[in-house]
Amino acid sequence: MNEPLTPGELNARAVDAPVAGRFVLLWILMPLAVLAAAIWWLIAANPLAAFDNGAPPVENLTVERTILDQSGLRLLVRAGGSEQMVIAQVQVDAAYWEFSQEPAGPIERGDTAWVNLPFPWIVGEAHRVTFVTSTGATFEHPIPVAVPTPVVTSGNLMSQAVIGAFVGILPVAVGLMFFPALRGAGPATMNFLLAMTIGLLGFLLVDALVESLELAAQSAAIFQGPVMVALAAAASFLLLMGVSRREGRPAGLALATYIALGIGLHNFGEGLAIGAAFAAGAAGLGTFLVMGFTLHNITEGIGIAAPILKVRPPLWTFAGLALLAGGPAVIGMWIGSLAYAPQWSALALAVGAGAILQVVIEVGLYLIRSSGRGSSALFSPPVLAGLAVGVGFMYATAMLVKI
């Protein structure tokens, strides 16, 4: 095996190298040529003709955005059939209505178009739009509560920012303010707090995944909702694991930052959904609801503070952590109310779920390490109590905001 090569053999290899390179190129081109030939044959010989049983093409239409304004209804539709499709007529509340389409004509598979209807919609009442395609298939789109779609004004953006800050940034900041009080915590309290963090993150993980799948179900089939959710969550998990492990296991401020990032991504997804719900008039924003969200998110601040109790971070890092965890709620609400499609909310929540899974694992490992008792630490009374309190508090406060 390891015999030295003779000069002749070396020469032969040197001559072979460019030939081998050409062969590699050939071996790359060969399979591609076979593929091209197969596609050409499929088109030329049309063996699929035998499967043509006279059935009409499968059609699918998803409404991604609904805008209600002075001029009537505007709907962004995405075609997702087996072929291009034509919207022939449009009903509103079981009456054919004048409409225009931009761009006009057949909509290619995967493409979108705006459908504009000069319909005199009524504030606070429900309407139902029905699209009739050239094959006579119908696609319904309910408007549960008709309210004018918010337009981009500085006033609107500001009031949304205030609400976003109230439900996102304020509770995290309040939670972080427990920091001085918690600094003197003994090992048992420390383990309790870390376990509580894992509990609340576990709740958010389940919540984000379920909500993400719900939104994915509303999106056009072409996006393959559930697969997209699973892949996006796995990708964000692996990416964050890879990044965080470049400098060893994260602890202290680094771990707190990852927790804040995971919570921030989750809040971004939530913000998108809330913003879209308000834009669609599907949710009323009561004081009670806002207070519920605020209370719900307070533990997030405590969770972020837990890993940095033993270090002395500068004050500005607290502001940074609060903004990282809560700020995305504001951005999410802006985007959600102005430009929204369910697949983007699903994607954001799935990315958030992956990020949360990463911190759940890291906080768990940190807990095991810092307790110095190995994995048996996970089953100590303070830890189990912390997990229960974390999950229980999140579940109970979520009751305030679920409608």
């Binding site: 022939a88 007529q89 009456a95 006579g136």
Partner: protein
């Protein structure tokens, strides 16, 4: 409001405006015993038709049109309908009239398979405004796919001496009848997504056709409408005339109105009748557009609405 765009009548092979007055009177001959024999030829065909702008419907048709040909004969004539099935399913012609069991157009009596032929033969009676439709099973599907048409039997004035004038005015081809502006109207509907509810309603198949192209009426000549309701899935349909009233002859089997001075009538499926009214005479309407429609708002807004364009006679 209204459907958007225009239907390609040429591709369909029938025009709803032409269909109003396009009576199929068959071929007249004399039997050895001296009686008049009227022979119609009808074929069943599968055909994709455009029932509203841009919306195609895989119809089953009589003579390639929906509704099928408006057959018209005179009371007492011998009728011979040569029916050929060029469609993909078994079909029949079931006439609302008086005939033998063998001629009823139901399974076992004149229901024929694809490629077959059957001749229905019976006397034209009673006079009135009738219909025919396919009676193959499943019935609802065969009817709503488009297999129906008007079957009008004009009264023979000689048989109704007391009301000979009224009978003559109903008899196609008589000078008295020529004064009238007669129209064939079939109230129908289409369930394009096959969910048991209609997406489109119409008078003579094409949603909103007479709203986009109003029916021209000369003001001082009387109007007579032969109206039948063949709408599937909905229990009733109706006809409402704006700004005017009409006399109504339920099933058309009388020469005096069964309802006088009404502006709305209701019909269940296969119910039919004759409407008579005028925009001239004592009414003395001004010229202009007069709407007519089903007075089920839903039907109206889903296509069953039209206009009469009442104009002064051109002398």
């Amino acid at each position: 409001m209204i459907t958007v765009g225009e239907v390609d009548n040429e591709r369909n092979g029938f025009d709803p405006t032409a269909m109003l007055t396009d009576w199929d009177t068959g071929i007249l001959s004399t039997l050895p015993d001296g009686r008049r024999l009227r022979t119609f030829e009808v074929t069943a065909e599968d055909k994709e038709i455009e029932i509203a702008p841009g919306v195609m419907f895989p119809a089953w048709t009589f003579n390639g049109r929906v509704p099928g040909p408006a057959l018209r004969a005179m009371e007492g004539e011998r009728l011979r309908i040569v029916f050929r099935n060029y469609g993909s399913h078994p079909h029949s012609m079931h006439f609302h009239g008086i005939h033998a069991a063998r001629m009823d157009g139901i399974p076992g009596a004149g229901l024929i398979g694809p490629g077959e032929e059957f001749v229905y033969e019976f006397d034209a009676k009673p006079f009135g405004c009738h219909l025919y439709h396919c009676h193959a099973l499943p019935l609802a599907r065969h009817i709503h796919k488009g297999m129906y048409g008007l079957f009008v039997v004009d009264p023979d004035p000689a048989l109704h001496p007391d009301l000979a004038d009224a009978a003559r005015s109903r008899l196609l081809g008589s000078p008295e009848n020529a004064e009238w502006q007669e129209m064939a109207m079939v109230m129908n509907a289409f369930d394009t997504n096959f969910d048991g509810e209609n997406e489109f309603y119409a008078c003579n198949t094409i949603a909103h056709c007479y709203a986009k192209k109003p029916i021209r009426i000369v003001r001082n000549r009387p109007v007579r409408i032969y109206l039948v309701n063949i709408t599937e899935f909905d229990p009733i349909n109706s006809f409402h005339l704006h700004a005017n009233f009409f006399d109504y002859y339920d099933q058309g089997t009388t020469l005096t109105p069964t309802l006088k001075t009404v502006d709305l009538i209701m019909q269940c499926q296969a119910q039919r009748g004759i409407l008579e009214f005028s925009f001239g005479d004592s009414q003395d309407h001004e010229a202009g557009l007069y709407m007519f429609h089903a007075h089920q708002s839903e039907f109206t807004e889903l296509g069953w609405m039209g206009m009469f364009d009442v104009v002064e006679a051109v002398s």
